[in-house]
Symmetry: C2
């Protein structure tokens, strides 16, 4: 089946998926987990074919992500079971209001409809996102990297069929297999409600620029730590080291350090020593190099670069406002931290920095759905609409307005004899008490 047709059919199926009971969805998730365990050797074999075909071309980090064997399969099954334990995000009453006697308005969560996820060479991502889509009552279109095609093909079939065996309507999951399909996908404005792209900055930006379908994602993660004038240096140093080096290849690692001029003389030499131990290359503005003359110069290009590597750029600033302006100009609205003894200064920073995550006296690396306690991470968004920062299951739902009446007409509520609305908020669990 081609993608356009599959998406159209999935969109038509979406209302039925939205109405699946929590029990059925959880049973389907357990069935998926069970299937992953039972069919492990087949999965390992398919994955082995991908690894064999890929090994000559790809680097070690990609091969490591591509590998889906043994414990990784067990962990994926456990991940699916964890999704089953999450609260059902569908059918939550967000607000309830009596508009008039016998006229009850409820704002109730419901699935988005059809979600498309494009991910890289991690077969575990396929299992995870399919589980999250199922739990939230959405149809799901998946596209993995071609280097994982044998693994993805088998996993998509196993996950789909396990869901169907538990009562999910056939067709709830569709695997796209060609790169050309991505361009087709970007045009499916009527049938796809959200695209979640994961991959290189260039790829995510390409998606964002070439579709009018909403996109949940982030292109780059140029995160900052700002060291304020009144910093506690003993506390600050380990935080900076952690923010830069705890895992350099991820979007919430810090790329640029901003240092207040009054903190620079004490901080910079000690930081240099610690960063040397971690083999981090420092690049600094001219004022940084007054204290660290041995390091390379940083240019404007550095402020705009996500190194994803053992490199840190440093700039000395004269004020909190200069730090905020630098971050709002050069950052990517992802995660930025201030290190200061002053809560008032921290609040100003956190209010004026236009980023999804604004932190005080802790590492930017905490920006993560698991660490935030969201239960599951669907993605990380740096847009301003719908959901921002680490996004849990709530990012895959929206709401509808249900109005329960007993024959009310608008004509009675207008004109000189107009009946007045009561507009009385009522508890979410209120059920309609009309006259039938």
């Amino acid at each position: 089946m081609d993608l356009s047709q599959a998406a159209r059919e999935l969109k038509a199926l979406a209302p039925r998926l939205s109405a699946l009971s929590t029990e059925l969805k959880n049973a389907a998730l357990h069935k998926i987990a069970q299937t992953l365990r039972e069919r492990r050797s087949e999965i390992e074999e398919a994955n082995q074919r991908d690894l064999a075909e890929a090994s000559s071309e790809l680097g070690a980090p990609i091969l490591s992500r591509l590998k889906f064997q043994g414990d990784k399969i067990t962990q994926a099954a456990e991940g699916v079971e964890a999704v089953a334990r999450l609260a059902d995000p569908v059918g939550k009453v967000l607000s309830a209001r009596e508009l008039d006697q016998g006229l009850l308005l409820k704002q109730v969560t419901c699935p988005l409809g059809v979600i498309a996820m494009i991910f890289e060479s991690r077969p575990d991502a396929l299992v995870q996102i399919a589980s999250l889509a199922l739990k939230s009552g959405n149809g799901i279109i998946l596209k993995g990297g071609k280097e994982a095609r044998h693994s993805n093909r088998l996993l998509a079939d196993l996950v789909h069929d396990a869901g169907v065996a538990a009562g999910v309507p056939p067709g709830w999951l569709f695997l796209m297999e060609t790169r050309e399909d991505v361009e087709v996908l970007l045009g499916l404005t009527h049938d796809v409600d959200l695209i979640i792209p994961r991959g290189s900055n260039a790829f995510v930006q390409h998606v964002m620029r070439h579709t009018t379908i909403p996109v949940l994602g982030h292109a780059d993660g140029i995160c900052h730590v700002y060291v304020d004038r009144t910093v506690d240096i003993e506390q600050a140093l380990p935080v900076i080291v952690d923010a830069k080096t705890q895992y350099v290849a991820v979007c919430n690692a810090t790329e640029t350090l901003l240092v207040h001029a009054e903190a620079a003389p004490l901080l910079l030499p000690r930081l240099k020593h610690l960063m040397d131990e971690k083999k981090v290359t420092l690049k600094g503005c001219e004022r940084t190099r007054e204290w660290l003359p041995e390091i390379e110069s940083a240019t404007e290009e550095d402020w705009a670069t996500e190194y994803l590597d053992y490199v840190l750029s440093i700039k000395v600033v004269d004020s909190l406002q200069q730090a905020i302006d630098h971050i709002n100009t050069w950052g990517s609205h992802h995660t930025d931290a201030i290190l200061t003894r002053s809560l008032a200064t921290a609040e100003t920073f956190m209010n004026l920095v236009d980023s999804a995550d604004v932190f005080w006296n802790c590492s930017t690396r905490f920006a993560d759905g698991f660490r935030f306690g969201l239960g599951a991470e669907v993605g990380v968004g740096t847009g301003k609409i719908h959901a921002r920062g680490p996004v849990g299951l709530e990012g895959l739902v929206i709401y509808k307005w249900k109005l329960y009446g007993s024959g009310q007409i608008v004509a009675d509520y207008v004109g000189p004899q107009a009946r007045a609305f009561t507009h009385r908020d009522v508890p979410p669990e209120t059920s309609w008490g009309g006259r039938f």
Copy 2:
């Protein structure tokens, strides 16, 4: 100043607008209301120029919308004062969670940043949306119809200057004046966070198709009433008449009536009589015309048409599912109602119809921010992201994640000796109690 530059400056100003106190914003709103009252004669004069220049070309409904004199100015001032009385949507704590001792996560509402609103020939819309943007801490770009240019120019200056007199930073409001600017606007992805277009279907669709900036709006409003098998006909008839005729020129007026075959024989002849009284033209499918042979045939084109007029298309269906499929296929995901004695049937309809508003036993005309008790209506959205249906002030805000720490690093929470997160939800008003 040209639009691109103005938007860039407004985006740079946005963090300051986001941090304005509730008191200052409300004082500015009262100053705007006062200015409208004090400068009424100037406003009337500018509006008179628009009316004089326009009268030869435009129809009566447009002229009526364009007219901004006397009571309409008083009402606009009262509307601004009503916005001042609304709760501040900024700074609300949506959730608070202790991640560990001395590590507190808060999800706090904040403005989107810069909003662009394109509206038709209603000078009162300029005043209203500027007030809503100000209250929610957003910068605002406005574009009105050229037929209202004298009114809009004066109002934009008065509103802007009144805000500035109360302490809002200059530049918080920008008025676009050329049609070419609209095309420029659609490309300002870095500086505009949300576009709210009001106008013809074709115009709104043009905006939605030609920008990757999020759009809050709805192109058409093809709303349905479905009359179920078990309907209470005495209750249903006035609801159908109201849904069609209470105000035909609006998006929540009903355009298509779906009737269960078992309800048709009793309902249709009586409905015809009532619709004749209201001078509504009926168009029906072949099965409808078995009962009403004198009416015109309806074709597929009718199912896809928003008449905005005294015309109603009618289709007989054999089941609830057929009605749901028709609505999901031909509707515009705006507002659809079911008339039935059965709450269970109504719940099925409300769950499976993929629309922003799903109503039971009441008129589609209730779909409105005022009637819903939202306090203010920013727009009506039929998308699936962010906000849906009638959207109040909450549609102009998003949230950021504030994490208050005391030196925590991620390295302590990973590996075999990993410290565990507590992930304990705490009351929203919890303040950080770290070790300083």
